[in-house]
Symmetry: C2
Subunit: 463 residues, 2 copies
Amino acid sequence: MKQALIKDLYRNTESYIDQEVQLSGWIRTIRDSKNFGFIELNDGSFFKGVQIVFDEQLANFKDIAKLPISSSIKVAGDFIHTPQAKQPFEIKATEIVIEGTSNVDYPLQKKKHSFEYLRSIAHLRPRTNTFSAVFRVRSLASYAIHKFFQDKGYVYVHSPIITGSDTEGAGEMFRITTLDMDNLPKNDEGKTDLTKDFFNKETNLTVSGQLSAESFALAFRNVYTFGPTFRAENSNTARHAAEFWMIEPELAFAELPDIMDLAEEMVKYVIGYVLDQAPEEMNFFNSFIEKGLVDRLDNAHTANFGRVTYTEAIKLLQESGETFAYPVEWGVDLQTEHERYLCEKVFKRPVFVTDYPKEIKAFYMRLNEDQKTVAAMDLLVPGIGELIGGSQREEREDILAGKIKELGMNEEDYWWYLELRKYGGTKHSGYGIGFERLIMYLTGMSNIRDVIPFPRTPGNAEF
Amino acid sequence: MKQALIKDLYRNTESYIDQEVQLSGWIRTIRDSKNFGFIELNDGSFFKGVQIVFDEQLANFKDIAKLPISSSIKVAGDFIHTPQAKQPFEIKATEIVIEGTSNVDYPLQKKKHSFEYLRSIAHLRPRTNTFSAVFRVRSLASYAIHKFFQDKGYVYVHSPIITGSDTEGAGEMFRITTLDMDNLPKNDEGKTDLTKDFFNKETNLTVSGQLSAESFALAFRNVYTFGPTFRAENSNTARHAAEFWMIEPELAFAELPDIMDLAEEMVKYVIGYVLDQAPEEMNFFNSFIEKGLVDRLDNAHTANFGRVTYTEAIKLLQESGETFAYPVEWGVDLQTEHERYLCEKVFKRPVFVTDYPKEIKAFYMRLNEDQKTVAAMDLLVPGIGELIGGSQREEREDILAGKIKELGMNEEDYWWYLELRKYGGTKHSGYGIGFERLIMYLTGMSNIRDVIPFPRTPGNAEF
């Protein structure tokens, strides 16, 4: 009699008919009559549990019947096929061993709990239906991304988390130190003596792996990163976390349309993968988190994503007759309301907006011939707004160096980045996708805190 | 005429015979006679390059002939099959377009450079044979690990990088702050006012994802982490880095032998995967980095890993007649010299050492019935020493709480960790593997700085 996982009972039901099985897991619900009872057992391998029928033929019947929910047990029993019933099978227990008796004050009693409350017990929330589904889909989507790029021969790059300086220019950074903060060493100028710190200088947590990825793309041609990134922004919104994961593919010998093709293919691949691998979870989201979710994803999976320039998009918004909180004119950055209007109302599918004004985009984006816009793209998706941001990179050393100077950035920090242009530079392009935003898009969950195992936000680094 | 990757020319040679192809890449070597020349072109998709033959029929023959190495070009030409020659094919160029002319002071000229020098140009070193091989194998090994666990249905958990307190007890930590370090706010006691910091308290970079993984294992049964971890130890050795990646599987309803089986299967899987997917790179390591590497890996791939208790291992070392720098007696921690002697001389294959004295192991390891040892295991491998460390976790709430108290640890920090034992705890076990050490094991590279894209060590956070 071999240990089985509940997932396998569902996926390979035929092979278990009339067999003895051994399961272990946690009691989700339990009820008993005088001489028999039912347990819904979940073992974590699958979204659904299995019904265990037990009766007083078990020597420990009374002990079992008294078990609080969340207790862990090992069950041996007969697999009973019940194709006509609501549940296609159940287990008639021949033996139940108590592994761990839960305390009766288990916080996840049957009533519905708010997501906010569940964040305060983040160590237990993966045991609920919602978070079991969220974190399984998160795992599957991670793997889908690796599989997508690896099947194409892309090289996965672990870009550094600790960076020597704020060269990425993408936002507020967290500082790292090993100095005693109650007793800082001072230099002659009365400032903190950073030469005494672990790295002998100021260091921060990365906000992007892009620059590292560029250096690897100019060796391996096609690469991607997938790692944690950080923003020390004091924004307490449902879309911002201080710690989140990013995927950043970077391609040598590639221009803007190449990475739009890639991004479209990747998003479709991940959607297809999770719909295929986690149908139970996706149906749960569709029923209980966002009605119409699966239709929305199916639509994105089959549609050709729209493509429109920023200049055209501004015109569309201006001519829409819609009243926006933030007024629209050429030169402004698009707000979420504009982004969502474009993809939800105008295009009714994901849409790339390209060629943004250079003033509102990063220094490394390639200047277009009009001298006003850069070869940038954002992918906007219904329900979310911006999901992906990318660009062709400025490969012309003189223009890039001029831009760094013009913006008053510290040129010394960029010596190696500029050298990538000096020694066999090529046209190259890449994009970044915030992984949590992708999970929100895939699940319909509306708060970033509910798609990260242990979220970090201003004032909150519990667990 | 479609863009081809050099990898595909090698893997699907037959399909290119007598075809026109279009390639792009970087010039590794170039030489020319009066009216013809040869380029070794590498496009990053493959360890090897391809020979491009060009002659004065090209209008820009003279410009091409003058190109410095590392320049990037696009080549159209005829695929010439040369099965008798050393190189099985070459490209007769019909057109070469210069994409980026490299500067002549390109640092990677043909002569052999020391690994130490190459660390100072970490942005360029992936273009060398050695680092191209290392970082491709690193990428493949990453994927092999994901594939291994995902194929078994394990859930990938992104454990947090920023932690609220030093609850992991695994080493010195880096502190994180957004306070102005030249102007720290003080509290009434004259100490730094941490309530003003981003998270309103002290936060650090994680040293291990294990405790988070345990909480997910008690929901999903089988999980793993794969992410960066940090140690602020001032050790300048070839084996220590301040930032490195770890994989930490954690299994509910699993005891020590279960995770030894899993670790053995995982190591064999990754070895098989890289030997299969990167034969050119592995042969390169075997020839130029460590003679006998492939034999060593083949041996590990087929052997049954040894298993010996710590107590037996101490006896074996004492009876060996070997003189060790660190003397051996029951109770001491094993040093690398002991570990390597055991697997290289005694067992001649990877070996698990189990059941270490409780005093030298972490607080969360399960106390054995002898009350002296814990259910821990280390996997020792030839050439490296310890590759993996793991244990059965203490699932008994009272014993764990007692241990936390006994060690003077801050009990409040562990409320949620103890609750995992209170609400349906189960026997559970897991292990950690330092990913860089695995890459050193797979490649024969002897310095951790040479298997991480941009290494972070004391005094060094360049790039």
